[in-house]
């Protein structure tokens, strides 16, 4: 029996289909958007409401080993933000690293229907999949960390580009990832092998490998291009958080050589000034480059004041943060694959660097010429919780509010930026781009981020309000796969989202190359490493388009 739904009289924002605030009806059958439904279809009267596609978070940290460590680490944060169950939904705890159920439900209550976990070491992918399965409502996928993979670096050292590409495909396929993630490439070896050292120059050789981070990044981007992944590698550049890191960031973007690359949380990589001195905003040189180079997509990684948790595969960065306040700190080395650092952190508006980062993020948004490529994120929970997105949207849409907000923060920091001069206000359509259409397009999710026929019926309906924070904080309806999950601001049913992953093809012989490496250097058996597809629950393969 097919289920039908129609949303009538709503003001529709669907930038992918060039619809900008038109009153238009939307029809849904069996979880998909269609061009008409029968008269018996359930009707939602969206008069006075704004209809948008469900939002897509292109970069967040919501599931898996490191998230769970950060979750376990902070009972004090959960205790103050409980997530009670309802007649339809499971209970959980909130705070800046919510439990899985709370994560799914809370994303839904923000109007989000898809979110991508941005950093998973392959050996713990099984864990991530289990958590994602317990993350309700939303669709989700994850990016697999390969940038410090010892086997892949070894292949590059040996100049075996072909096997390198095959092995990448094997890894993505074995763990059911969506795309690749590169984090502080080359640093793991120095961190673990040279008493907590870090890479400072992307053109220096990586210990033991005689190749530079730039070369590694370039090779991954090339391989991903050839594999035809729907979304290019997410790159977390070297030197995150260090003054003067714009030169590293620019070098990294240039390494793409015009191929598609996604620069993760670019705010953290846009510092001007000199190394080891007070940072200043280097946003202009970064955003100018992004504006001019269409191969680049990026998410901002906005910092929001209040509680955050630094949670990263960039272990040296977490160590640097740890030495600021000496509070609780996690380091977790993953054999042959990754590092990890976690630090509970609070961004405070009176602190120079924090206010600077906040302002830099806003500068990036406000200087962006192409909303399709400069996307909204807080790098949850690194820059702040995803729960602060509505506030961020208001900062972008309401310049009077923004001006007032910036008067409360460290003025010396604001002096270093162009923020005072910027009067730009994002339109609803632009917000729909940076939170929906843009991320979906960047991800290559053809059925997401729009309301055209054939799209997944992931829809958010907001009551139109002047206060955009209030508006985006509580959608009136959230429809996922055609199911009205939230009705009149309350959960009407529970819903399980699905896993989105890719299946790049590869030559099976590559496993014979990889297996001996496992026997020597891994602590788990090669045979037990890859995850059978039967292990997955609801999932969808997003096609790849390999280059010949």
């Amino acid at each position: 029996m097919s289920s039908e739904l129609k949303i009538v009289n709503g003001r529709v924002y669907d930038p992918a289909n060039n619809i900008d605030g038109k009153i238009q009806d939307i029809f849904i059958r069996d979880g998909k958007i269609v061009d008409s439904v029968s008269s018996s279809a359930t009707k939602i009267d969206a008069h006075g409401m704004v209809v948008m596609p469900g939002a897509v978070d292109i970069h967040c940290h919501i599931a898996g080993a490191k998230v769970n460590l950060a979750r376990k680490l902070q009972p004090e944060d959960h205790r103050l933000d409980v997530h009670p169950k309802t007649a339809h939904t499971r209970s959980g705890t909130g705070g800046v690293v919510p439990s899985t159920f709370a994560t799914g439900y809370r994303y839904a209550t923000m109007g989000y229907t898809t979110a991508m976990e941005a950093a998973v070491p392959p050996i713990t992918a099984r864990h991530t999949l289990e958590e994602l399965d317990d993350t309700p409502v939303i669709d989700k996928g994850f990016y697999v960390l390969l940038g410090n993979n010892a086997f892949l670096l070894k292949l590059l050292k040996e100049g075996r580009k072909k096997e390198f590409k095959e092995a990448i495909a094997w890894w993505i396929d074995s763990v059911h990832a969506y795309t690749l993630k590169l984090v502080n490439v080359g640093a793991d070896e120095l961190w673990k092998g040279r008493k907590n050292a870090n890479i400072t120059n992307v053109n220096d050789n990586i210990d033991h490998y005689n190749i530079t981070p730039t070369h590694v990044i370039e090779s991954f981007i090339e391989a991903a291009h050839e594999l035809g992944l729907p979304h290019p590698p997410h790159v977390h550049c070297n030197n995150l958080g260090h003054s003067g890191n714009i030169s590293t960031t620019l070098d990294t973007m240039k390494a793409a050589q015009g191929r598609r690359v996604h620069m993760a949380h670019i705010q953290f990589h846009s510092f001007g000034g000199e190394v080891n001195k007070d940072a200043v905003s280097g946003v202009r040189s970064i955003i100018d480059y992004v504006n001019e180079n269409e191969n680049i997509t990026t998410d901002v990684g906005q910092v929001m004041f209040g509680k955050a948790t630094a949670m990263t595969a960039d272990a040296p960065l977490a160590w640097m943060l740890r030495n600021v306040k000496m509070n609780k700190w996690i380091n977790a080395d993953t054999e042959c694959e990754s590092g990890c650092g976690i630090i509970p952190f609070t961004y405070q508006d009176h602190i120079y660097t924090h206010a600077l980062q906040w302002a830099m993020g806003l500068e990036l948004f406000l200087h962006s010429k192409d909303p399709w490529r400069v996307l909204l994120s807080t790098d949850h929970p690194n820059g702040g919780s995803f729960m602060s997105y509505p506030t961020l949207i208001k900062l972008l849409m309401d310049s009077a509010y923004r001006k007032e907000a910036l008067s409360y923060v460290n003025q010396k920091a604001i002096d270093q930026t162009s923020l005072r001069e910027l009067d730009r206000e994002y339109t609803l359509s632009e917000i729909a781009i940076i939170t929906r259409a843009g991320p979906a397009r960047a991800l290559g999710l053809k059925n997401k981020g729009h309301l055209g026929v054939g799209a997944d019926a992931d829809i958010t309906i907001y009551t139109e309000e002047d206060d955009k924070e209030a508006m985006f904080n509580a959608p009136r309806y959230v429809i996922k796969d055609g199911v009205t999950v939230i009705k009149n601001h309350e959960f009407a049913t529970d819903h399980k989202g699905k896993l989105l992953h890719t299946k790049p093809g590869y030559n099976a012989d590559i496993s014979q190359e990889i297996e001996p490496f496992f026997e020597d250097y891994y602590s788990v058996k090669f045979n037990n490493y890859a995850i059978s597809e039967d292990y997955l629950h609801d999932h969808e393969v997003i096609p790849t388009h390999p280059k010949a």
Partner: protein
């Protein structure tokens, strides 16, 4: 997940487990399971080669298994006891599920405990049951490395997966544990003898230090044995932290702790100058006076040492999937153990919601015990209370707990009869390859049936919501 699904899961596409006849067992229906996983202890070795007599439902040989692993595999064989007992009388599965569900929904403070010898799949269902009925949940973690978990919440942890220890650690310290007897392959598979990427000569490239209050069968493996007076671990760890930071310590340290200043200075020197150090610690820290502070002192020591070199620490976890229980309970509730749902959302407080306490204080009015035997190893007061309240037990063998249970389910053994996921002590998830089918259901199956029945009974107006 169904049994079929996990079995297919086990058949990883690149290398399917080989199934063939072997001569020495002529006349028997023999199956070889390669790369099977032993779930007896937290080492979760996944390189077992099991020779299974399919018809006899037993494992004849477990290649690579240690003495504990062999006992685990050989002793879990087909059983003849009844599947379900209610008040000691045989009952059907349905009757057992009904009785269990009734006990759970009638209780005002139902608690559940155990789960460390159970798959993550079962653990997930268990949390769901307790969330549904607003119950209380705790795992064997609370009497294992629960204090270490609390210490972790206080100070964090610098840690590593075991493969990184194998590849890099040139200084390996065991503190308050006896792996030779509790985790026999810890030395050989992960931390002492194996050759690794930067440890080409295995044990020759490492210095091994053992710290304990007594000599144990683990002692001979150590290059240095540091004997601490019983109950003085914290003082020694504290002195080491002070010395690492270049601070003064009391002159009478040897008198206090049994460890001389020279030995401490030497160890500090080795710790600061190694390339990659690791501190493994056992329940000699968590179960003695000081508990979480002992673990915290050790975790802090490892963190402190990162000022000088790369240093990690790792609790040596006991049961096969106690680490999985921590992970599952954490991702579903935000807290690793000792979680209470009475108010419709999770609350955490060791000492308040942990099993020893809710039983000893006589608070729980029903308990579901999964794959654990608190009635034989809990404090007397807790055991006395267990005898007064309805107990539901799920176990692979009869235990003191199952003998006092009102509803007792005999279940099959994870890893031997059922598949699924378990987490090794270093949080690495590992899949299971069951060897043969049991006549009993897996605990996941029992728990799902109880969950479904409970949900049915509590449907509609009776649903327990948040208060």
């Amino acid at each position: 997940m169904t049994k079929e699904a996990t079995q297919t899961d086990a058949q990883v596409k690149n290398k399917k487990p080989v199934s063939k006849k072997v001569d020495p067992y002529e006349g028997k229906n023999i199956k070889i399971v390669k790369d099977a996983t032993c779930t007896f202890c937290g080492c979760v070795c996944d390189d077992m080669e099991l020779t299974v007599d399919v018809d006899e439902h037993r494992i004849l040989k477990a290649k690579k298994a240690c003495v504990l692993g062999r006992a685990w595999f050989y002793e879990h064989k087909v059983d003849t006891r009844p599947g379900v007992l209610i008040d000691g009388k045989e009952a059907t599965f349905q009757e057992g599920v009904e009785a269990a569900a009734q006990i759970l929904i009638d209780a005002k403070f139902p608690t559940t405990y155990g789960m460390s010898d159970s798959t993550c799949e079962s653990q997930r269902v268990t949390v769901e049951i307790m969330d549904t009925i607003n119950g209380n949940i705790d795992t064997t973690t609370s009497v294992c490395h629960g204090p270490s978990g609390m210490a972790f919440q206080g100070v964090g942890e610098s840690t590593a997966t075991l493969g990184e220890v194998k590849n890099r650690a040139d200084l390996v310290i065991y503190w308050g544990g006896n792996p030779a007897e509790s985790h026999p392959r810890h030395f050989t598979r992960y931390a002492v003898t194996p050759k690794g990427m930067y440890i080409p000569n295995g044990k020759k490239d490492r210095t091994v230090v053992l710290v304990d209050v007594r000599r144990t069968p683990s002692t001979p493996v150590a290059d240095i044995f540091m004997q601490v007076k019983p109950g003085k671990d914290f003082e020694v760890l504290w002195a080491l932290r002070a010395l690492v930071k270049g601070k003064k310590i009391a002159n009478d340290i040897e008198k206090q702790t049994g460890v001389s200043r020279e030995v401490l200075d030497d160890l500090v020197d080795r710790m600061k100058n190694c390339q990659f150090g690791v501190l493994f610690f056992g329940m000699g820290l968590t179960m003695t006076r000081g508990r979480h502070f002992n673990s915290g002192a050790l975790l802090s020591l490892a963190a402190d040492l990162n000022e000088f070199t790369h240093f990690v620490a790792k609790p040596v976890r006991g049961h096969g999937n106690v680490t999985g229980a921590d992970n599952v309970v954490s991702w579903q509730t935000g807290y690793p153990f000792g979680v209470n749902f009475n108010r419709g959302y999770p609350r955490f407080n060791p000492g308040e919601f942990t099993t020893t306490d809710v039983l000893s204080r006589g608070e729980a009015d029903a308990a579901m015990i999964i794959a654990s035997d608190p009635a034989s190893n809990f404090p007397k007061a807790a055991i006395e209370h267990m005898k007064k309240i309805p107990i539901i037990s799920l176990d692979t063998k009869d235990t003191v707990t199952s003998s006092i249970a009102k509803v007792r389910f005999a279940v099959s053994t994870y890893g031997i009869n059922t598949g699924g996921t378990v987490y090794r002590m270093d949080d690495v998830p590992i899949t299971l390859r069951p060897a043969f089918e049991s006549t009993y259901p897996g605990d996941q199956e029992v728990l799902e049936a109880i969950r479904d029945r409970v949900k049915k009974l509590l449907s509609g107006k009776k649903a327990r919501v948040a208060a």
